[in-house]
Symmetry: C4
Subunit: 198 residues, 4 copies
């Protein structure tokens, strides 16, 4: 029998990610009056939505680049992908939790923990795909570089967890820093050249 | 490595747009009594749903035509597309906001602002795809024409924002005018011929 | 430029239909106690969900068979499809409305009206696709037969609208009759042979 | 006319399963205070979500393996697949029901009943696909083995239904046992080799 194609893994992941980013917007409950005050009160929820949209979109783009290198998938890859999607599926919950209780340490910490777990799960998937491509030195080097960036991001998110009890602003700064690093000029250039940013 | 294909960008966009149009209908809360009065009260929500369905569907059809011209995508295109989907994902919120507070200026203005931002984001994506196709004069001319229409629509939506404080009816007239122009007889003929309406 | 492919029309329709059938189940609100009584009270909602799942699934299967015959799509077909999806997207609303107010005439009538409109919209799409295939007599004959069945179903749904004020049971009988006719033994045989049931 | 391809059946199933796993997370209502106590109270809901995610993911992976063996689909297969998706679509309801009333027999029993019905529906689909491949002895043997595993799982779920009134812990043990068996070392090895685990 032929090896499993990657199209359904991609289609299923695209579906889950599309739903994750879209249901987060359902947490933006419509104010029952049309005053500016009611709208302004939604600001923390809106900002947490925008940040989570960005983080999930980065993971989706990385997923796109990663799967682009793969030709066939194994049952093991399907499960490492499901594991990644499980942690990602908790992002709407932690986004709403941080949006409703914005400056409390527990929601801020939990937000970082879930992103750390999702990022680590993504790296496990990357390592498995990299193993199946060990014979291509260019791909292996690329996966190795990307894996180090993934690990650095996951460690930063992990550090943000206890820091939330020191100051939630430190944790929030980390949550802004990680996507900002992704969009550094050097990476934008790579993107324009069709490569995966580090 | 091969350039990124466009299939996942399309699949992800299709997923997000499918969810956007479908979750808007969740705002049509079922009346708890079966009287005609209860149903009639849903009329503004229903009309705002129908208008938003139409606007989102036009953007989806234009997205379909635009991506049809592209052969490969760059990381930059993925991000311009994500940027477009972000503003589009706010349409269910502004639709429910206008539907619940129908004749108040702020919701009417915000509705136009989000459509202006979504339309502008779509035009940024179009310009990037057009740049990659600059060597084909027929495509370049088509993108140039479409881009002018996109800009005109975005400007009309922008004008509707302050006009909402003059009269919400002026803004609502603009929101009806833009899709109506799309379905002018001249454009319908083009569609029948398999072209993108201007 | 090449004609538009049908893959995105199919993917978008699959997405919308998948969301429609799945969000209907969200109306089955979990009882807050674990008694048999609380569960039994959900029976009308469950039955209306099961019926709507069946009706939407029949339309999806027919859509699948219909698009299977098409090779390329025009802008006009995209819009006839969007028009069909618009009416279909109202089915979760009418399902919840009938489920919450089960024996009242207005919800029962509205349920039939929306199905009549969705079925008619589907037939408009079929006629447009049939027109583009007029040169193939076998396909033309198949579309003609199917169109008559579509028209008969839509008329039955239309008849159910005023009948709801005579007796809701008459309308409900029609809503059960239409899918039952679809699954008649003669049609099951055709399905097994890979044809579209009439 | 060509036989129906399997791509839309796969895309529709992927969409429905993606929505099912993602809307279950909406049941994790955000606590309105940021205390550890509020978060801890969500534990049963979280555990029921994690278990259901796992069970639905196993069925999706099996569906992926099963459809991988099929080349074309019949109308009958479309309907057996819709039947499977119908029972699967009830999993978010039974998950929320068990999560809100965790140690009551009725929700625990209903959870098993729906999984038994979904598993049996999946087996009906498998048998139909197997029948169409009877000429390939390797595939026939594989389907036969998998079918016995499916039947054993469905019987275990069925046994869990009455056992819930003896002790909910017995039923819950069965719900953990079935996925655990799926991930036994022997099966993990098969997955690594690209085969479907038994």
């Amino acid at each position: 029998m032929q090896p499993l194609g990657k199209s359904r893994l991609e289609a299923f992941s695209d579906g889950v990610v599309a739903i994750i980013v879209t249901i987060m917007v359902l947490e933006l409950k419509v104010p029952h009056d049309a005053s500016l005050h009611g709208l302004v009160q939604l600001t923390p929820l809106f900002l947490s939505y925008a940040l989570s949209f960005l983080v999930v979109a980065i993971l989706w783009v990385n997923h796109h680049h990663l799967l682009h290198t793969a030709h066939a998938v194994t049952g093991r890859m399907l499960w490492l992908n499901n594991h990644f999607l499980f942690w990602l599926s908790l992002v709407p919950f932690t986004t709403a939790y941080i949006g409703e209780n914005h400056l409390a340490p527990l929601p801020v910490a939990l937000y970082g923990l879930v992103l750390c777990l999702a990022g680590s799960a993504f790296d496990l998937l990357r390592r498995d795909i990299a193993r199946s491509q060990a014979s291509d030195p260019a791909l292996a080097a690329m996966h190795h570089r990307s894996s180090r960036i993934n690990a650095a991001s996951a460690l930063l998110y992990l550090a943000a967890v206890p820091l939330a009890w020191v100051s939630v602003w430190l944790s929030l700064a980390i949550y802004l820093l990680v996507p900002a690093a992704y969009f550094m000029p050097r990476n934008i250039e790579k993107m324009a050249a069709g490569q995966q940013p580090a």
